[in-house]
């Protein structure tokens, strides 16, 4: 086995090693700890890009941990979807970490960098694993790290929101375990590929239980993805988090979406007998409602970060409208929009922080305050981020929404999808315009607080916006990759052959 064959484990192993090293280094030499964290993020980006290069041709790599063959051991499965999510996580983590270091947000608490690395470990593991119980474990790793990161900086508002966030997620974990227990009792396996084969052989008397297990599992993923009506925890949590952390959290809801995309075709796909596509009828209505609620929230938000939180809900809804079609075309469009909406949400949170740092007591409230330094430049950045989040040209949101509209036109319920996507776009545009004009155009009498000494905090949001521009410039390549990914996800027999080798049909 050459070193390259061990590539799939590196995205989990690197942050797992970097976190304790950073923890030890931070005690005496802060700079060293920060350097470890940065180097780890860069290494993750390198690994993810190499992995993407290896799997982009359509090969699927299964990595058996400890050489235990599937389905008895745990396998990591690197395919196009996993590689895509790994690259997205690595890019987003670099942006968030840069912002945290540049603005000094990482100095407001003790263990920012170790927690950040553990968070990345959980995220990468969840994207790579091919085992359902292992998925639960990585969900817990990323959640436990996110509790720490969310409370980073402390203060009553964060603690209040933190208690709710933790309680909601604990209930979610309990339901996840119940679903896993039922699935294991029915199929006798926890390996996703193996379970996909086993569900077809579940006796007719147990089909009801199987359907319940599938719906419970998908509702847990929907809770993590903040799909209506399970979205209530998100706005408060994200709006009070440290902005750099909230930017990283932009990918946390996408973990839920990822899990739905991964598990439903593989376990409850077309071959699953009576449980085939069991969550499908509920997904589209839930997605439509979350898109409406999200953009309605954007319309009425009282602060920039609250607005960004609702934009996350709205974009998840839009994304799931595409996913709920379960065709290669619509899922491909959804994956393109997934990458875009993650970066757009991060840009919104970061711009909100840049504004808040210059407005003193007015913070990022959506009300006019005294004119502050570099208002024009920040206003332009906000406009670009808002354009991206609502889906206007020329940034990639427009292309993403266009792809979604085009792909769902072939589906039976297309009129609902079109109406909601176009309507929410209009509401979103008005909402962002209202807040933008209040913050950047109007001014009240009074003295603005002294501006920060440098403009280094422009780096991270500008990088996110540049990536969005690159995503729209390279839309041809990206959408081809996304569609190939979707085709691979919707053909679970491919990965079953790789994971189970001779056991697969």
């Amino acid at each position: 086995m050459s070193l390259l064959d061990h590539l799939p484990i590196l995205p989990v192993a690197i942050p797992a090693l970097a976190a304790p090293l950073a923890l030890l280094a931070m005690r005496r030499r802060r700079g060293l700890g920060v350097a470890i964290s940065l180097v780890s993020c860069l290494a993750l980006l390198g690994c993810a890009l190499v992995l993407m290069g290896r799997v982009s041709g359509g090969t699927i790599t299964a990595y058996a941990l400890g050489e235990w063959p599937a389905p008895f051991g745990i396998v990591l499965v690197a395919d196009r979807l996993a590689a895509l999510m790994l690259v997205l996580t690595a890019v987003l983590s670099l942006i968030a970490l840069t912002h945290a270091v540049v603005t000094g947000a990482d100095r407001k608490g003790w263990h920012f960098h170790p927690l950040f690395q553990f968070q990345l470990m959980g995220l990468n593991g969840a994207f790579l694993t091919g085992d359902l119980f292992n998925l639960f474990v990585f969900f817990e790793v990323l959640l436990i790290a996110s509790y720490g990161l969310m409370l980073h900086g402390q203060g009553p508002a964060r603690l209040k929101a933190g208690v709710q966030y933790v309680v909601v997620n604990l209930v979610g974990s309990a339901i996840f375990l119940i679903a896993l227990g039922m699935l294991y009792a029915l199929t006798g396996t926890l390996n996703m590929a193996d379970m996909g084969l086993a569900v077809a052989e579940v006796p007719a008397a147990d089909q009801g239980l199987l359907r319940i297990a599938g719906l419970l599992l998908v509702s847990v993923f929907a809770l993590k993805a903040a799909v209506a009506p399970l979205h209530l925890w998100l706005p408060r949590t994200y709006a009070v988090s440290t902005p750099a952390v909230a930017a990283l959290f932009a990918i946390m809801t996408k973990v839920g979406v990822y899990a739905i995309i991964r598990v439903v075709p593989q376990v409850f796909g077309a071959d699953a007998g009576a449980a085939a596509w069991v969550p499908a009828p509920y997904l589209l209505p839930a997605a439509l409602v979350s898109a409406v609620i999200g953009f309605a929230g954007v319309f009425v938000a009282r602060s920039l970060s609250e607005q960004a939180s609702y934009a996350v809900i709205g974009s998840t809804g839009t994304l799931l409208i595409a996913v709920a079609g379960w065709s290669a075309q619509s899922l491909g469009a959804g994956l393109y929009y997934l990458v875009h909406s993650t970066l757009a949400a991060a840009a919104l949170f970061l711009v909100a922080d840049v504004v808040a740092r210059r407005r003193g007591a007015y913070s990022d409230n959506a009300s006019p305050g005294p004119a502050f330094a570099v208002r024009g430049g920040i206003g332009l950045m906000f406009m670009a981020a808002a354009i991206a989040a609502t889906g206007l040209p020329p940034l990639s949101g427009f292309i993403g929404k266009l792809l979604i509209l085009k792909s769902v036109a072939a589906l039976p319920d297309w009129s609902w999808s079109w109406g909601v996507i176009l309507g929410t776009t209009l509401i979103g545009v008005i909402g962002f315009a209202r807040v933008g004009s209040a913050v950047f155009w109007k001014a009240t009498e009074g003295e603005a607080p002294p501006a920060p000494a440098n403009r280094l905090d422009f780096i991270a949001p500008a990088a996110a916006l540049a990536l969005l521009a690159a995503l729209s410039a390279g839309a041809g390549w990206a959408s081809v990759y996304a569609e190939a990914t979707a085709a691979q996800v919707l053909d679970p027999a491919q990965s079953a052959r790789v994971v189970l080798k001779d056991r697969a049909p």
């Binding site: 817990e140 209930v171 294991y184």
Partner: protein, 132 residues
Amino acid sequence: MTYEFLVASAIGVLVAGGIYLALRARTFQVVLGLTLISYAVNLFLFASGRLVVGRPPIWDAVKGGAVSAYTDPLPQALVLTAIVITFGMTAFVVILSLRSFLETGSDHVDGDTVPCDAQDGLAHGLAEGEGP
């Protein structure tokens, strides 16, 4: 009264109590409720390998070899993982709610400040039915 019925009703009672407590307004009850739910989940996971009495896990030391009638060891390993995670999380949520109580002066989950007497039902106004 079979063994299965006992375990199933135990899980049911634990979940019912857990849900009732988790829906209460104050953090202490919510934490207790979450603990009860996690106990129920652990029992449920354990039962997912079927309830078998007096069987070896795959390998029988007395007979010295593999057996056909065995108890499934995997759910027991899963339960162990789940116990460790929920134990850690319970400790965390207790500390978090204590911290939240000390900083915000309220142990209500939704963060509203309610005088201690009123929330215990001891305030005179509430006792006489004049409260809100």
